[in-house]
Subunit: 483 residues, 4 copies
């Protein structure tokens, strides 16, 4: 990942997708939080571009009155001064969402807003539960109805039911978290409390910020920077934090696991998170520089220029250059205007999707041996075209280096990885992949380098080695509840 982040609404090639970004805010001074949530979500836009929403409440207003607005599209498309202006409230949550095609409906947009025994609740969730189907099943057998296909509704039901046996909403959240399994970073707004919770493995990030007399919960620290808040700390894996004017931040760590059992998603560092974010104290940018350095150490090659595939390959390319001493350069120009409604070239047309979005700087690559760094190859459908573009522009050699290991296994925790059969690395040797993409050489980051990349934090390597921090579901149940 590099200097700039481009509109990924219509990504160049076959990229992975994050499933959500969450944001919560509580201004103890009573100021309206909706517009700050808007900017916070805007900073988290890269985590989900399909839908977004904001829900706010006035802690001193009529009990349980929640004002919310959700829609399909980018934050700047869904929200206007017209619909933001009437959203009054000193407490609120926001959400940006990516989803697989089937369930990309307005009904599934978050935050989920609901009435329950104690009034109202609004919920924003990032992650994927592995026992959602079971839990839905169980809930239905006690008379529950489901109006969406999102895990958040399952979580909400558990909070509502646990609330009956709990003296506080945070206790209910904690109890609910014990029932759900998988990845979740959760922000819950009850009428007078903002509650954050992170699963015990720490799959998904969640941090705490402060601005004047207001507290913030956000998926990434870049959202804190954007709104001018200071970083306080990360919510810990397995922690529930409760934010109130009376007690500030109150922590409950009773769900926490021994540190070594934690399992952060390494793709946050490799690709998902913004490079200016820090997750659990580790700079995303620095981790990418490191990945590039490791590649230079482990897969050296003699060449004239190191270039990154924009945007996410640029930081690793810089790392490779710093380590190897081979100059860093720019080989591509990306068209940043591709938006949601962009018409993709048809197969039959003379235009190609890759060309329309990416062009090569002939001057930069002509006559040179190029090391091209990308963050990952998923299906490999565009890599061969990019390599060919470099050759057409006069590159004499093209060496491809990937700042992550090869994908081989599904992810059950919120990353949208295609079927195994569609993964280029599945059942293929490195040499075979190199041949397919037409590179002169190909090198991947070693699995053993991943923990170093994240400064030694325990990470989940499931998508690389099939070993998951918890038993995955028997069958892939994603999409089961689509309608």
């Amino acid at each position: 990942m590099s200097d700039n982040r481009i509109n990924k609404n219509q990504p160049v090639g076959d990229e992975l997708h994050e499933e959500c970004g969450v944001f919560g805010m509580y201004d103890f001074d009573g100021g309206d939080v909706a517009s700050t949530i808007y900017y916070g979500l805007f900073a988290l836009q890269h985590r989900g571009q399909e839908s977004c929403g904001i829900a706010v409440s006035e802690t001193n207003g009529p009990k349980g009155k929640v004002t919310s607005y959700k829609g399909m599209g980018l934050v700047n498309e869904v929200f206007t001064e017209e619909n933001l202006e009437p959203m009054h409230g000193d407490i609120g949550v926001g959400h940006v969402r990516y989803s697989t095609a089937g369930a990309s409906t307005r009904e599934n947009a978050q935050p989920l807003v609901l009435n329950y025994v104690k009034g109202t609740l609004a919920l924003a969730h990032n992650g994927n539960l592995i026992n959602a189907a079971e839990l839905r099943h169980d809930l239905e057998y006690t008379g529950a109805i489901f109006q969406t296909t999102i895990d958040s509704e399952v979580i909400a039901y558990h909070i509502a039911r646990e609330r009956l046996k709990s003296s506080t909403v945070e206790e209910a959240v904690g109890r609910a978290c014990r029932k759900i399994k998988g990845a979740y970073s959760l922000v819950v707004m009850s009428p007078r409390k903002l509650v954050g919770a992170r699963d015990p493995y720490g799959f998904k990030p969640l941090c705490i910020g402060k601005r004047d007399n207001a507290y913030i919960l956000a998926s990434e620290t870049c959202a804190l920077d954007t709104i001018g808040a200071e970083y306080v700390r990360d919510v810990l894996p397995g922690e529930t934090v409760t934010i109130t004017p009376e007690n500030g931040i109150v922590s409950d760590l009773s769900r926490a696991l021994p540190k070594e059992q934690e399992a952060r998603c390494i793709f946050e560092y490799i690709y998902f998170a913004r490079p200016d974010s820090h997750i659990d104290g580790v700079s995303v940018y620095a981790s990418r520089i490191k990945a590039g350095r490791f590649l230079a150490m482990d897969s050296p090659v003699d060449a004239d220029l190191v270039v990154g595939v924009p945007e996410s390959g640029n930081a690793a390319a810089l790392g490779y250059s710093l380590q190897s001493g081979i100059p860093y350069g720019t080989a591509f120009v990306k068209n940043g205007y591709v938006g949601r409604t962009f018409i993709k070239p048809k197969q039959s047309s003379r235009e190609s999707s890759v060309r329309v979005k990416l062009n090569v700087l002939k001057e930069a690559v002509d006559g040179k041996r190029i090391i091209m760094i990308d963050d990952s190859i998923v299906r490999g459908t565009t890599s061969d075209r990019i390599v060919k573009m470099l050759r057409d522009a006069g590159a004499t050699e093209v060496h491809v280096r990937i700042s992550s290991p090869p994908f081989l296994w599904p992810c059950y925790f919120g990353t949208d990885i295609p079927e195994r059969e569609q993964l280029i690395a599945y059942n293929r040797t490195i040499e075979e992949i190199r041949d397919i993409i037409g590179a002169d050489s190909l090198g991947y980051l070693g699995i053993d380098r991943l923990s170093e990349m994240a400064d030694g934090l325990p990470i989940c390597k499931g998508c690389f080695n099939g070993i998951y921090p918890m038993e995955p579901p028997k069958e892939d149940i994603r999409g089961d509840y689509e309608r």
Copy 2:
């Protein structure tokens, strides 16, 4: 009510509002029903103009797959060829909705589509429950969450819970109906059954139609005519009907009350329903002609011309004319282009809302003594302006006759009647009202005439005399769950 029905999106004056229209269809031959539901809803548009929706399912398709689309606005605004075309299904339900301002949100649009223990369910509801708040409360105390503020969600929960103890969905519907109190005409689509239910009082209409090998449930017979279906019969008060290819229509009358306890809403005949509809065998048009005749008998006056306030006053005016022998005429021209986005004249401007929507035919009224028939006076805010317009156009006398008794009490069953204090008849004599609206004389239909109007069917007269067929709730709970 007369020959024509005008776009009531922005009514001329202070009219009453119906809260919904429902429509269901099951084509045993497997044909798609969505476009027919579209035309059916279009025929029921007068029953609700704020939002509408359609949900369909393929009985032989993947289990529980429901395709639905809902939106704010008129049927022809919400639905396009683009969004209707992909709605495949041989079973489906549709809904048009009017609501009070606060809860006029997309979330509250119907049909309600949900997953529950037995798969999916789609629900369309017309009416108002009087124990919804209680039921919500009870449900919440067993862990329910609510995402809308509509009664349908309460009903759905009960069906889902009763389903656990029932062997069929229709049994669950029947059991649920025993828990809910108030007015409801209900159309429920389960994966392979279409179920209709009507409350024991028969407040709201619901009829059955047939076209070839398809069955239809609809709020009014005009929807059957529109789609070229034949009328089969009305669903009876307290009846549950289950429609399947195997058994056709199966009736369960176990919820039925003795006929004399039934209590149809007389306003369906007076104003809500389309004049070309028949409700429980009684022609709406004929009942309005009768009301006019009764007025002529009970409040006779010597005059030159009988005119109706368009549209709903026209049929009664014709009845008055037929009975009295005084010629029927046309005094008003209504501008039919007032749509949802029409900008109402400001108080301060020289234009008036009444003038913009209604003009007088000077030729028709100049120099004449006029009997002007309207279906009701609610707040009375426009009646005085219309009377004045007639006088300005040269009418020498204006006698006002109203084809319903004076409103004095709230309705708890789905009609949006304003606060008592706002009702012109509240705490006023007829003479005082006449004085306010500036008429030469004023006559209302007698309460005793109402049953005759409906061919002797038992009716609810609650809004006229405060005597309701069931105990009303202690406090008006409508809007309580608004957010």
Copy 3:
């Protein structure tokens, strides 16, 4: 035409179309006129539903600054508080437009706003020129460019060119009017003058109104009533009126023809105009009543009930009833919610366009001999269906009476009449037409009755007898400039 006017956006059957409505206003007190123009256009909406526009200017503002807004759709769809609010100006013009499909583009929406040698000009035009093609040709041969396909651009060019030789804008308008041939009612806004002009034949209406210190020009008096203005007089055929604060209304009658050469379009009375309008002193409503009376005199038949095809047949039906003594009744209910985006039933579907829009009141017609009055039959495509609907509802006889003579010839002056071959009356006897529509008898209004209908005013009968007040163009040039 009757009591009410329904949204004709998607007319029931094969109706004729008017091509425009114009409105101009100049408030000598400096008040903003845009919102009043909005209501004025709203009252003229029946004259054109495809596009509309408003242009205003501040007579004391920066010279030549015109603010305008135009769009496709109804007045209440195109204009919002948001786009109306910033339109400041004490002088302005507005326009509603109907057009044939080909040229129904935003570019062609009016008013036409332009810069020319003397600053700015805004133009709204109702009518059709017969020498527009010639004039375009001539203009092009002196270097003109055309950005629209509307006659208004030709007129504007002439005004601009004549302005070079004229000392005032009204002189230029007058000179331009001498070059153009055909039907035109014109409202022109120059920076500090409002100018109205009507062709010497008086084909299209144009009237003058006054409200406080503001003058209004409008296609119909109903627009004056709507905005609370008083009627001053009609602009005379061949007259140019110039409205300024200095001189009030200044008339130039130098283009006027002898009265007997005038040739008003009779369809304004028969169908186009709103019944509450007066054109050249003749009440549209009264003329329709008369037409009905003439039909009763000239085509009497014994029957039980006279009904009108809504809306435009109702007034003539009343006239027929008054003359014949046969009771007037209502046989049809029209669905008023058909809007621009309404999806028409496909030929293949079980629904029919006529049924969806019109239903019969069985109670009203069952067992009766019906006289059904309509204003015209164009192609006859719906008449047979309506007759059949009456019979299906139990009518024992259906006698059709048409309140205009049969169409046989094209109109060159602004009425959209189909090709001769498509006219039902072309090459057919009355008996043959009767047979096609399935009526028991059929009667048309006699051509000789038309002048009486319009109180003796000279009228154009071209579409009935092929005799036009001026030589028509050799070939139909409409659409020639479409792109």
Copy 4:
């Protein structure tokens, strides 16, 4: 300029704006060109983001039938499959437009489509005429009317008038070009010819491409790359090219000036053009690298890291690094999701526009002496904030280098430079500017380096030294015709 181009719809700071991009295509094989024009415009989107349009024609279709579509917004917002699909034609032109706020209306969108003496014409224009006001005036004095405020309409009039004296459209274009003064790159579509013309100074670029049997005219070569066309050559300053199936490309150089009088806009190289484009044979990317090298030579400073302000500063930063040996790095992360409807933070809010769009990579800059390269400083409103952001992130020194000379004079040829009084360099020394933006040192590119940057091509330096290639108009007439 660097690797990537970000959505500039809402630029970070105070940038300059280009006024247009043009594109034309003629497929001699008769294939439809609209979708290729779409992708071509998409590649030129950086040249104008306010409106865009496409007009196409079938050379073998009905004479003069042009299908066009224009709208406000980005190419991917304005065009959809729905409105592109029906645009059939083997010849066409397209346009993207930036404009100053006042005239940013749909009326002014291009291409301009018109009828004139020889049928139809469509015109797309990039540049600014300096005698447009005079020409308008003259045209008006011979009866012209203007419906837009764009220069293209003036050009169109001249083509139309000259066409009367010319035997071909290209001759008319040539003649018209002799009357207009200023900057223009012009693409004209006549029914069977595609004509391109460039002003004698060559202010604005225009190149020729070929794909199979189709010819293309485009503002930049990046549009050729995008659609897979090969670069043929640039249209020469002062040249008119006519493209027909019969004769291929026919050149008329009679308007050309001696080469030394040419005056290309240097800002195309510095900032406007995409780095992957070549203009008149010079690589934009290479010229930016060179500018960076010159800065390193002329304004050297000892530091640890060279960074560019994204996007346009990156290439020059790379050049500086290459020349100086100081490592190149990335200091900023830009949020690429800022779109047209993005709500800018209010002055009063805690969020700042700069922060929302740009964040600093603390890891990259902490403890380092930074050389920050930007392409220009206009008002200087954001430079100080960016410098401060670097310092806050730990930079010990911030040296600013600008890859262009200071702006001091207005541009009359199509670049939107603010009033002199608003330019930071106006009446200030370099030292004073340095002080304002808070840098440790500040260096601009020398004026003498500009020609070298463009490989010795003659360039216009008017905005730097006030010496223009032709006499500028007495007063700034831009916006004069706004309405």
